[in-house]
């Protein structure tokens, strides 16, 4: 199975190189690596329409931090849908929607963020579905701030 518009030939070639497979301790009887498995997708049963109840439970524990981020040019899982989803959770806004920054020699606007208690919804400006590939510096700044509990 191929991902439309995404070139996966280099990674497919690399991971099917016998020397690479040996380095990764992949048994010889394992079939070729492919980026997505159509067999898995075709046999998959989608049980849920939404993760709202799951997020409600995580939030109600009052001790776990959540970051939802979206490259804002993605159409597979678009930012607006996730913005609506976050709004549907009914969280108390803590910090108003604002620009957040990364540094590429000078401070630049990386996107926009809205923060609630233990919860942030953040966009990455000009990034698509694969945020760390499209905007590596901004993505690294974002995840590092999140993991270290620093402000965005």
């Amino acid at each position: 199975a191929q991902i439309p518009c995404i070139n996966t030939s280099a990674i497919t070639t690399y991971l099917n190189n016998p020397y690479v497979r040996q380095s990764l301790h992949i048994p010889e009887n394992i079939t070729s690596w492919e980026v997505c498995s159509s067999a898995v997708l075709q046999k998959y049963t989608f049980q849920y329409d939404t993760m709202k109840s799951q997020y409600d439970q995580i939030i109600m524990a009052f001790k776990y931090r959540v970051l939802l981020y979206n490259g804002d040019t993605d159409m597979a899982c678009n930012f607006l849908g996730n913005q609506w989803f976050v709004e549907s959770l009914g969280l108390q806004e803590q910090i108003q929607r604002r620009a957040w920054l990364f540094n590429d020699g000078k401070d630049q606007i990386a996107g926009f963020v809205k923060e609630y208690q233990n919860f942030a919804f953040l966009t990455v400006k000009g990034a698509g579905h694969m945020v760390p590939m499209d905007k590596p510096n901004a993505a690294f700044t974002m995840i590092n701030n999140f993991l270290k509990k620093r402000p965005f």
């Binding site: 067999a39 898995v40 995580i58 579905h129 993505a139």
Partner: protein, 308 residues
């Protein structure tokens, strides 16, 4: 780490990394073995948090994220050389990539049964995680985060609920990138996204709002139902939206990027011989309702043709 899992030499690198990394298998339910690749932090592996990364699909490999997105190595176009990524997420975190569910990438099941569902994936991911902490027990003392993207927007919170019950794990939180959180909200919002990005014109927008919204004068964020509207006029208009987003050659994963390989030959829905073709691709189940509905209608419309 487990010595038998350690990667001592990775082909394609001019210089082997200064950090340790491990590749092996974790036991899930039954005969399922999930492949992992653990990359120690480049800063302070003893103190830095442990971050699990899951990819979506369902059916797509997290090694794509490792080798093309947020991992320390970037595969070059020749399919052999690797370059280092200055913005790797393992610069200040230990990152564990898990290929899940069984059947994805190098993960497998001895019984070759790859039928699964959301609940089962959550359980298998949790079992694999427990096996990981058995094999690498010192990570139990590290802060632990669950992250992922796309359809992992379902995997991540579902796994989080299980991990929350496990007091042995220092679970801190979750991060989801371009995740699927709600199929209806994603399906509805993409129509606004398309209109406000100029992908569909005023005529189609008018058709959509007249047939999918309760009143022409109340177009706001949640008043329209584009996703599963039973009005046939709405469904017809939505087929056109779906066609623009999925079929004409736009890169749906990054609107402003080119489509690798160019506009797909089936984009117009007709082959050179005049026949219509049924196409299949991998996506989050965002457009399933309309997509398959559209294909069913196409089959009806062209029943006198030979379908391929």
């Amino acid at each position: 780490g487990t010595p038998s899992d350690e990667i001592t030499y990775l082909p394609g690198l001019v210089k082997q990394p200064s950090f340790k990394h491990y590749s092996g298998y974790l036991q899930a339910s039954g005969t399922k073995q999930l492949h992992f690749w653990l990359l120690e932090s480049q800063s302070s592996p003893v103190h830095d948090p442990l971050v699990l990364w899951l990819s979506g699909g369902p059916g797509c490999s997290s090694l794509y994220a490792l080798l093309m997105q947020n991992g320390p190595f970037r595969i070059q176009d020749d399919g052999f050389s690797l370059e280092y990524n200055d913005y790797s997420w393992n610069k200040e975190a230990n990152v564990l990539y898990l290929e899940s569910p069984a059947g994805v990438g190098f993960s497998y099941s001895d019984d070759q049964n790859y039928t699964t569902n959301d609940d089962e994936v959550a359980e298998d991911n949790y079992l694999a995680l427990q096996d990981f902490f058995k094999r690498y027990p010192y990570y139990k003392s590290h802060n632990f985060f669950i992250t992922g993207s796309s359809y992992a927007g379902f995997y991540v919170p579902m796994l989080a609920l299980k991990v929350m019950q496990d007091s042995d794990i220092k679970f801190q939180g979750i991060a989801v990138g371009n995740g699927l959180s709600s199929i209806p909200l994603n399906g509805n919002s993409i129509v606004y996204f398309a209109y406000y990005h100029g992908l569909i014109g005023d005529d189609l927008w008018t058709d959509l709002t007249q047939s999918c919204c309760p009143s022409n004068n109340s177009i706001n964020a949640h008043s329209c139902n584009f996703y599963n509207n039973t009005n046939p006029d709405c469904a017809t208009a939505m087929e056109q939206v779906s066609h623009v987003i999925k079929d004409i050659g736009l890169n749906r994963y990054n609107l402003f990027a080119n489509c690798s390989g160019g506009i797909p030959p089936h984009s117009v829905g007709l082959g050179f011989d005049g026949q219509k073709y049924v196409t299949y691709d991998v996506d989050p189940p965002v457009f399933h309702k309309y997509y398959f509905g559209q294909k069913r209608r196409m089959v009806k419309l062209c029943s006198h043709h030979k379908l391929k």
